[in-house]
Symmetry: C2
Subunit: 416 residues, 2 copies
C-alpha cells in the first residue's frame, strides 16, 4: 500500500469513526474514560514492560538525563494517567451546551450550540502519557483523534493505544475514533498534514523544530505554542515583599516552563530599594541588567538587545528600569511574545490600565505568571497553550476543542 493511500485510509477511518462520537452522550464518553482508567490499572505490568523496551532502545542509542526521564513510565506515572482520566470524566461535557439563543422578528428561534471540532491530529514527542491525556480530552469533547507520537516511545504508545481502543469498544463507541499512527517517517506525517478534508485541526506539542515543520506543511489550522517571553512589572509604590515573592515564584519555581518570567521591569522609584533585595532573594539567578538597573545590581552582567527577546527557560533574568507604566507596556509590546505578563501594584487605576492595554493571552495583577495554566485558571484540564489569537488564545481546555453551529427552529419562514 502506498504511503498516500495508507494515509488516506487512516484519515477517512478517523472521520468515519468520529461521526457517531460527535453526538454521543456524556454517559458513553465517561464510560470510555473510566474503563480506560480500569484497564490501565489492570494492565500496568504490560504497559511497563512495553515502556522498558523503549527505555532499553533509548539507552543503547545513548539517550540519557532529562530526555530518558521524559520517556520513562513507573507506577506513580501510571497512577497519574489514571487520575487524569478520572478527572476528565468528572468534567462537564462541553458538547450540546447552548452559548446563546434569541428570537428574530420573523419568529425563528436561533441558538448557538457547541459541537465538536471533528478530527484532531495530535503530534507529540517522548512523554507516553500524552497518548492517554490527548485521547481522553479529544474524546470527551466528541472529537476523533489521530495520535502521532515520537518513535522513541513507540512500544509504550502502541500498548496504550491498544488499551484505548479496547475501552472505546467496551463503552459502545467506534474504536476508529482513536487511531495511533505507527509510522515514524516524517513523510507519513507530511502526508497527513495534506488532508484538510478529513482533519480539522492539528495540535503539535514538542520542540521548536517540530512545530515549525508542522506549520510549514499543514494545510489545516494549527494550534501551537511557540515562545513565552513573560514579564513581571513592579510598579511605583508596589508592595515590595509581594513583588519579591511573585518575581521569585515566576522565575525559579519551574524555569523551564513557558509561563516562567524572563524579563523583570521595575519602576525607577523602586529600583534602588527593590533590586538589591531581589539579588539577595534569588542568588541562584544570573541577572542581565540595563544601565540603570546595573547601578543597583553589582553582580549582574550588562544586558544586550538580544536579552529582551530571549526565552531563557533557565535561571537567568533580564532586568530593566523604566520610568513609567507606559514605558513598561511599550517594552512588552515590542519584545514580548503575547503570552503572559503580570503587574505588581497597589494602584487600582494602573492595575486596570495594564489589564486593559496589554494584549497578551493572560494578564495578571498581583499574582505570579506561573498561574497562566489551564489547571490553575480552572479550565479543568489543558490540551495546550495557543499563541495565535484565532479560535483560542492562551490555555486551552475542553471547550477549546469544540466550536459552535447555528440551530434554527421555524414554522415555514422564508427569506424575503
Amino acid at each position: 500500500m502506498s504511503l498516500a493511500h495508507e494515509t488516506e485510509q487512516i484519515a477517512l477511518a478517523a472521520k468515519e469513526g468520529g461521526r457517531a462520537l460527535s453526538h454521543a452522550g456524556r454517559a458513553e464518553k465517561d464510560r470510555f474514560l473510566l474503563h480506560a482508567a480500569r484497564l490501565l490499572k489492570e494492565k500496568s505490568a504490560e504497559i511497563l514492560a512495553a515502556n522498558a523496551q523503549d527505555l532499553a532502545r533509548a539507552e543503547s542509542a545513548g539517550v540519557q538525563g532529562a530526555m530518558l526521564d521524559r520517556l520513562a513510565l513507573n507506577p506513580k506515572r501510571i497512577d497519574g494517567m489514571i487520575s487524569a482520566l478520572q478527572e476528565i470524566a468528572a468534567l462537564e461535557d462541553p458538547v450540546g451546551a447552548i452559548d446563546a439563543g434569541w428570537r428574530r422578528p420573523n419568529g425563528i428561534m436561533v441558538e448557538r450550540r457547541r459541537i465538536p471540532l471533528g478530527v484532531i491530529l495530535m503530534i507529540y514527542e517522548a512523554r507516553p502519557n500524552v497518548t492517554v491525556d490527548a485521547a481522553a480530552l479529544c474524546v470527551k469533547a466528541g472529537n476523533a483523534v489521530i495520535l502521532r507520537g515520537g518513535s522513541e516511545a513507540r512500544s509504550s504508545n502502541l500498548a496504550l493505544a491498544a488499551l484505548l481502543s479496547e475501552a472505546l469498544s467496551a463503552a459502545g463507541l467506534d474504536p476508529r475514533a482513536v487511531r495511533y499512527v505507527d509510522n515514524p517517517a516524517r513523510e507519513a506525517l507530511y502526508e497527513l498534514l495534506q488532508r484538510p478534508g478529513e482533519i480539522d485541526l492539528c495540535i503539535p506539542r514538542g520542540g521548536e523544530g517540530l512545530v515549525k515543520a508542522v506549520y510549514e506543511h499543514a494545510k489545516m489550522p494549527v494550534l501551537a505554542h511557540e515562545r513565552g517571553v513573560c514579564h513581571v512589572y513592579v510598579d511605583q509604590s508596589a508592595d515590595l515583599e509581594m513583588a519579591l515573592s511573585i518575581t521569585e515564584n515566576a522565575k525559579v519555581q519551574r524555569p523551564s516552563t513557558c509561563n516562567a518570567a524572563e524579563t523583570l521591569l521595575v519602576h525607577e522609584d523602586e529600583a534602588a530599594r527593590f533590586l538589591p533585595l531581589l539579588a539577595a532573594r534569588i542568588p541562584q539567578v544570573a541577572l542581565r541588567a540595563d544601565a540603570k538597573a546595573l547601578a543597583h545590581l553589582p553582580g549582574a552582567t550588562p544586558a544586550t538587545e538580544e536579552d529582551w527577546f530571549a526565552e531563557y527557560l533557565d535561571l537567568i533574568l533580564a532586568v530593566r528600569v523604566v520610568s513609567s507604566i507606559e514605558e513598561a507596556m511599550d517594552h512588552i509590546a515590542r519584545y514580548g511574545s503575547r503570552h503572559t505578563e503580570a503587574i505588581v501594584t497597589r494602584h487600582q487605576g494602573r492595575a486596570e490600565r495594564f489589564l486593559r492595554e496589554v494584549g497578551s493571552s493572560t494578564v495578571l495583577v498581583n499574582a505570579s505568571t506561573r498561574l497562566a495554566d489551564g489547571g490553575e485558571l480552572g479550565l479543568g484540564a489543558e490540551i495546550g497553550i495557543s499563541n495565535t489569537r484565532m479560535h483560542a488564545f492562551g490555555p486551552m481546555g475542553l471547550r477549546e476543542l469544540t466550536t459552535t453551529k447555528f440551530v434554527v427552529r421555524g414554522e415555514g419562514q422564508l427569506r424575503g
Copy 2:
C-alpha cells in the same frame, strides 16, 4: 524601495496603528463610523467621479454585464454604504465584554475578556463597498485592517480609503489603523501573506481562484468561505405545502448564493405526492433526479454521482428519494460541504435528531436555507461565512472579529 521592504512597512504601520485602537472606547470608534458616513454624503460626487474612471477603464477593457455592475457605484449604493456605517455604529462594542468569570480556590479572580484579533488583512474583488464595510467592521471590533481590493476598482477604493483615513483622524484615532494597499501585483499580496508576525488573520472574499491562492501562500490563519452544497430534506409526513415553499425559496429566491439549496432529499413515502407538485411549482428549475425520483418527475434528467457534489449556483436542483432520515443524513455527511441543511418535518423527535446529528454550520427545521446569513440570524452585520470549524463556523459578525484573553486579579498568589 524593494517589495519586501515596502510590505514590511505596511504591516508594521498597521500593527503600530492598531495598538491604541485595540483598547479605544466605543465612543471614539462610533465617532469614526458616523464621521465616515457624513464624509460619504459630502463627497459623494468625488467618489462617483473616481468610480467613473474605474468604469471607463473596465469598459474599454471589454468588461460588461454582471462584472461591470458589481464595480459600479451610484447614489443609491452610496446611501447603502452610509446606512451600513450607521448600523455598525449602532451595534454593541464586542471589545471588553466579559464572557465568563469565576473565583479559584486560592482566591484569584479569573475572567475571560473579549479583545480584538489585532491586524486583519482583507482581500477582495470588484465591489468597492467592501472597502467601507470591511474597514467599519474591523475598526468597530478594535482591529487594524489592511485592505487589498481588486485593481479594477482602484480609483474608487483609493478615494474611499482616503475618506476613511480622514474620518479616523477626525475621531482622534490613528489613521494607520486602516491602510489600503495600492499595488495590484500578486507578488505584493504574497509578500503580505508571509508576515504572520504582524498580521493575525486573513479574510479573502472572492472567487475560488483567489481563495485557493490565499490558502496556498498564507502563513497566518485564513477564514474563508469555500463551497455551499446545501440540502433540504422533506421528511415523512411533512407539511407538503410548507415543504414546497421552503424548497422554492431555498432554490430560486437567489440561486447564485452559497446558502441556496443544491440537493433535495425526499422521504419515499412522500415522493409520489410531493415531487409532481414541486415540478409544477418551480418549472423554471432543471431537475436532476435519481432513479426513484425520476419515476415521479417525467421532465427530469437522470442524476450522476457528480450531481450530488455539485454547487450549481444556478436554477438546477438534484433530487434523491431516501428511505429514512438516516439515509438522508448519510447523504449529507458524504456529499455535503457542512454549510447549511434544512429538514421539513412535523415530527419533533426527528427534528431534534436532525439538528443534533447534522454537523453543518447552520441546521434548520421548517425554515429556508436562505436564512443562514449573518443579518437574518441576527448577528447585526456579516464579515463573511466560514467553512472551517476553527474560530468561527458559519456566518461571522463583529464578535467573530475578536478573541478572548484571561484577566487575573490576585493578592500575591503564587504557584505551589
